[in-house]
């Protein structure tokens, strides 16, 4: 590693070591600390998972979530948007509690999921069209003046641009894209705008992994802002894989302030693969991850890894 030089050394944990100690990610943080203190390459493992969706949420600004307990106690409307109870069973009993309390539950998904059995309404959409559904809902909310103008004025940026953008995305347009009848889209939008608190439980491991899933996350994240559903009990976004509620934060041991300047390869699969192929990275440490399986373009990754000047080490976690 020292002979190759720090910028030619890459650490990649993928979902192996990164997913051990999930939540605290102590092992992954130690690796990142090593990379920061020494100044070698390190890439964020979320890029093979929900990271892109979170990127979309981050761009829009709705990253923090409300808790499942809050959902059970306070939400009057719950949109399970690509969120299936089978993959998030801890949330299940709080959803049932909300329903017993009289909350209205809508399951939006590409198939009849286990969550559909707990829903008052099931909306089946074509895969990859979640952004279109959110845009068409916003079209209705804005066109009919159902948004929370005071909240938007006080807490949101870019409303005029958003309003202009959604003008072209009518429920009829939405129907053509999503397969959901226009009147159902309009009814959903009206119900969402009229019910407060209303919570959206996003599937952090479903639509976020599809093509352009981050655009869907961006579009959906505008809905709670538009309707003043942020910062209130029972509103906003519900628990999501990889998310945190307000105040849930752990000490960061990764020492980002100690990272020396360097020629760093960004957190993009295509750029990382390029660096393997062109030889910018010559020593690679893999921590319990099968890069050929989890990276896009496995052929190129294999071509990069097959270069003969390699000295690599792999642990299996």
């Amino acid at each position: 590693m020292q002979a190759a030089g720090r910028e030619a050394v890459g650490l990649w944990a993928g979902h192996g070591l990164f997913a051990n100690n999930y939540g605290t990610r102590v092992g992954s943080h130690l690796l990142r600390r090593f990379a920061n203190v020494w100044g070698c390459q390190w890439w964020n493992p979320t890029m093979i998972c929900w990271g892109l969706g979170a990127f979309g949420l981050g761009l829009t600004g709705v990253l923090e979530t409300n808790t499942k307990e809050d959902m059970g106690e306070h939400a009057d409307l719950i949109l399970l948007w690509g969120a299936n109870l089978a993959s998030q069973p801890n949330t299940g009993r709080h959803l049932v509690a909300a329903r017993r309390r009289g909350a209205h539950i809508v399951a939006i998904d590409v198939r009849e999921t286990e969550a559909a059995a707990q829903a008052d309404e099931v909306i089946r959409i074509r895969p990859g069209t979640d952004a279109a559904l959110a845009l068409a809902m916003m079209h209705v909310i804005v066109a009919e003046g159902r948004h929370d103008a005071a909240f938007v004025a006080d807490h949101a940026l870019g409303f005029d641009a958003l309003a202009a953008h959604v003008r072209a995305h009518s429920p009829a347009w939405g129907e053509a894209v999503t397969g959901v009848p226009a009147e159902r889209i309009a009814a959903l939008a009206r119900r969402y705008a009229a019910t407060r608190p209303a919570m959206i439980v996003l599937g952090g491991s479903s639509m976020h992994k599809g093509a352009n899933g981050w655009q869907a996350a961006r579009a959906i994240a505008c809905l709670p802002a538009l309707t003043g559903n942020l910062g209130i009990p029972g509103g906003g976004f519900g628990p999501r894989h990889g998310s945190r509620a307000h105040g849930q934060d752990l000490t960061d041991i990764t020492a980002p302030e100690r990272r020396p300047p360097g020629r760093y390869i960004p957190n993009q699969m295509s750029r990382v693969t390029e660096a393997l192929v062109d030889g910018q990275v010559r020593v690679l440490l893999l921590f319990g991850t099968d890069m050929l399986s989890s990276f896009a373009d496995a052929g190129q990754v294999a071509a990069g890894l097959a270069r003969r000047t390699w000295s690599s080490a792999t642990t299996s976690s």
Binding site: N90, Q248, L286, G288
Partner: protein, 50 residues
Amino acid sequence: MNDTARRFADVVLPSTSWLEEVGCKSTNTHLYLMDQALEPPGETRPLIPS
């Protein structure tokens, strides 16, 4: 051993899986100590010695 390690690794260091080491998991509201449940086989070593 996974495909990447089998085809391309020059050095393979055996490591423990999560059941073979002490761990800590966090959810939105709680931290959980995850006790070691199995003896680490062979020469496996955890990244963080416990």
